[in-house]
Symmetry: D2
Amino acid sequence: MTTAPPDVLRCAYAELVVTDLVASRAFYVDVLGLVVTHEDAGALYLRAFEEYLHHSLVLRKGSTPALGVLAYRVRSSADLDLAEAYYRALGCRVERRAAGTTRGVGEAVRVLDPLGFPVEFFHEAEHVERFTQRYDLHGAGALSRLDHFNLDTPDVGAARKYYEGLGFRVSEDIRDAEGTVYAAWMFRKPTVHDVALTGGDGPRLHHIAFASHERHQILHLCDHLGALRQPGAIERGPGRHGVSNAFYLYLRDPDGHRVEIYTHDYYTGDPDNPVITWDVHDNQRRDWWGNPVVPSWYTDASLVLDLSGRVQPVVARAEPREAGVTIGADGFSFTGGAEFKLGEQV
Amino acid sequence: MTTAPPDVLRCAYAELVVTDLVASRAFYVDVLGLVVTHEDAGALYLRAFEEYLHHSLVLRKGSTPALGVLAYRVRSSADLDLAEAYYRALGCRVERRAAGTTRGVGEAVRVLDPLGFPVEFFHEAEHVERFTQRYDLHGAGALSRLDHFNLDTPDVGAARKYYEGLGFRVSEDIRDAEGTVYAAWMFRKPTVHDVALTGGDGPRLHHIAFASHERHQILHLCDHLGALRQPGAIERGPGRHGVSNAFYLYLRDPDGHRVEIYTHDYYTGDPDNPVITWDVHDNQRRDWWGNPVVPSWYTDASLVLDLSGRVQPVVARAEPREAGVTIGADGFSFTGGAEFKLGEQV
Amino acid sequence: MTTAPPDVLRCAYAELVVTDLVASRAFYVDVLGLVVTHEDAGALYLRAFEEYLHHSLVLRKGSTPALGVLAYRVRSSADLDLAEAYYRALGCRVERRAAGTTRGVGEAVRVLDPLGFPVEFFHEAEHVERFTQRYDLHGAGALSRLDHFNLDTPDVGAARKYYEGLGFRVSEDIRDAEGTVYAAWMFRKPTVHDVALTGGDGPRLHHIAFASHERHQILHLCDHLGALRQPGAIERGPGRHGVSNAFYLYLRDPDGHRVEIYTHDYYTGDPDNPVITWDVHDNQRRDWWGNPVVPSWYTDASLVLDLSGRVQPVVARAEPREAGVTIGADGFSFTGGAEFKLGEQV
Amino acid sequence: MTTAPPDVLRCAYAELVVTDLVASRAFYVDVLGLVVTHEDAGALYLRAFEEYLHHSLVLRKGSTPALGVLAYRVRSSADLDLAEAYYRALGCRVERRAAGTTRGVGEAVRVLDPLGFPVEFFHEAEHVERFTQRYDLHGAGALSRLDHFNLDTPDVGAARKYYEGLGFRVSEDIRDAEGTVYAAWMFRKPTVHDVALTGGDGPRLHHIAFASHERHQILHLCDHLGALRQPGAIERGPGRHGVSNAFYLYLRDPDGHRVEIYTHDYYTGDPDNPVITWDVHDNQRRDWWGNPVVPSWYTDASLVLDLSGRVQPVVARAEPREAGVTIGADGFSFTGGAEFKLGEQV
């Protein structure tokens, strides 16, 4: 490929199709505390407290829960032309969208990427008030900004190569001694990731993640859901990831879409940032404290739509599955005293 | 005195006269997050999240800001008779109040105590829902419970003796080498204090204090007031006390009443709990980090009412004042490298 | 019984028999950060940062891991005579121990209580420096003080009655609609408990617990164990209890003794403190977030010694077991959408 | 200027001349908890827990406290040639330094920049272990990474123009209605700053800053210094900045060099990141809570050396000084009810 890719700044917003906007609002606004930039009968446009673009999450009413689109912001409007050319050269379906086609977003290029995900590139977006210091509005579980997307895709190696073509770099990955890659974390902004590639049946959206400043904000979300008698919304965590070092919590929204709340990862912006490789048999890779990963976390994910709004078919992973090589007969990840080895950390 | 004192459990509620209930509500409910048990045109009855009695703070509308009453809860109804006899023997004015005279409070005995403060003793009170786990209602600055009262009184030694008669014990105090006592902290419940006695012109109320679980809740109150563009409500702190080890913040309400938010003190319930004596010249006694005490913290306090609702006259302290022996020419507490000595800590 | 019980202040110390003092020291001193008051070839005497008595934990070298003794502090030396008479009247084996028989502890009365536990009562103890403000020595996981004991006993109703006889009161319990009591939390100092009674084969020690000030200190202990590649020491949590509202973590020491780290419970000192009853089928009773309880937490506990140092026989619980009525086929506590009902909270 | 500037990644390390390495080690290693990469009789090479280059701070023994050099890392070795050409074109003194001239650092270009500061550009550096997850070594006040430099310079407008030439962008600044610029915050990595320009007599180093993850780590440093009876090392704070939103603390090392500890700023990496302009009369610009700025914070700063190790002469600021327009007769920043206006925040 000789066509230059667009200059991606960072993951910017996701659109999720939800079946009940009232229930979704109760979860994303009343519990997670996201700020409503705009809402109407068909959609909610939300942002976190430190974001000044129109939204980082769109919840659009529909009949089937699914991922509508993943959007990356590019450095300039000229990158839209690069994106168009780049994906045409890749043989992908590409659509040019006029400014305002998505409320608050300028001109955009939407593609069905080689992994089967609907992806948008945009530069212009409406500015709204940044609520960084509107502490009068911050709840006990205040979220700062969208942090990353996590995607299920059958062939992590191929997906990684595709994203490297887009200029993303790997910060960490999970492998085994036979060379199988189970997952990779890739970034443009200098955090651990803008997108994680998880080996699994795909294309499916594993989760989107928002960052908070401190861990007590994450703990409060659990307490809050407990008080609402909705502990079932807490799927996994809170805990400390081995990969990324982030403190994490995985929630499931009313449609089953997974949302991670995440803090404490690290700066990756230098070109020689050390890649950390974890052995898939290292029991601390997914949880630094060795707590088991619930099976649903490995199996469940959101379907994704194509550019026409039809559900994309799911292709099964051919390589070994992480759960298959690490989960015991009890259905839970192995926890215990067996030997393991840590990947090179420098 | 041979009359037995009532068995005091703990400091239980304060009534403050405020001039503008709307402004007070904005401060105590919207910023501090206290729960409204009842409100009407004349008063607000508030409690913190872990409290199950009707209120721990009453804000009563009046023309002059003042302390209306300090209330201690006693172990049983029989203690009311003890209280009545005890204060009559002391020659104090005593009033018996029928249940419901104060909303939510059962039968009570009110006295004008020997220090000139209006004090109530009660046992019965209406139970309301304890919101300990109502995390859906907790804000980022959630308060747990009333912790203590702090009183300005001219003669700390005499006041201490009076409170010892009531069964309170000293946890910490501030003295100088000449024997002057500048302040003393006294308790019934096994924390550092239910009441602190501060040497100064009195009777005046220096502050009331609420406890939070963690320090970030206190920091949020500052951020919240900053967002409201009311930094002037932050009088002193946040900081770490030397005395009590508590992390603290002093706020001033719209009428100038001082409210402390407080966490991290320690268990004092064993009978041989070591008394800590601080030298008044120890620059870390009031702030463990050596940050200066603002002059208003030493000079300002709320007037108190007698049992008829008239403002009590203030008697000047005759002994040296803490500010006088520690504050420099710049109007701030001395901070710096001079010698000091720590009191015995065991 | 007409004999008056001793006036118990609080749970005061435990002695655990451990098989390897070096390994125990690495856990209790290097990870938990407890302060060493004294150590010799046969024992370690440890305390937390806010404690001024000689120790709150003794680790004594022996061949079989077991609980050596649970000690309660009483209000005065006169209470030792009361204890002796009280337990003789109960028909228990009673021993009077001279001051210094346990290093740092004065005269004591040891009994084998009706539940089969070795229990000591003492008043006098050696004072040592309280490290409340020795922040130069506090690690990131600093512990403040011993908080409670948790005991496995077959008949919780009988055990509760016995402890009520000693003047303890119930703060919370777990029951079912048929009247079975699965656990009860009881206190003398005004926290949720000094002792918890857990229905199970007994007498066995379920755990001892230390309190920290904030949750991040507990989270650090997990991170620390992760860094040591000892995630197996983390048995359950961290999480938020339904019962007690405390934020918790359960660790297992090198001999399998269970230690809880605990914070955020509430004041219980008023005589009408509302008792909270939880339904055993309420999935949030043990974890407010609905996270499953690992089976070992229900099954494992430490054996206890009699006054002669022989292991006490264990009696099986006859009533239904909490795990039996709540754990699914996967071996984990039920988590999910079924109906449950919360006990009365006022 | 048509010469291209080097591509600066971020601020990378500072070298401070200190007079007593033992005292400096007690401060930077024992209190701040920085990791020692190397030490010898003449210098200490330190890094924070998430850093994998050899050092982010060098303390070099010398007779006069001063800034030895500020170092920026560039994207590639080719940028060294760009740096050399760029500064020669600016007429600055430029030195090429062989790899290892500074221990752990590869080939470098040192210049005396137009503002009078000794500045180094390097790309290659020795990798060492990243201690991100070495929680066994993290203290309660663990620091993550170097965050920024803050420089006193007489003409902020000129300095800003110079740094814009180097590719830095402004995130926030402080101005008045007459057009005077008092300070500007500028960045390459997408945080609020890599360098802040403070209007004052210069060239002087106002401070260097390290980032922590959470605020309690900063509060611990205060507690730790209190325990050491060194509260004088705490110059200002802790508090919340208006500018940057960061939670801050300013310490003074044994030689008077100022070190900030800093957390909670925000992502600035999008090209249209809104610049926030604060009015110099906005009393919340320097402290969101309105707490006064101590005078020494405005007046004191470290001298800087030229490339030959001689102290650079200091040029007085000609424009109005921030302290001059905001500090009252009491010597402290104005705090109170006067009108102010907030800069545009979108």
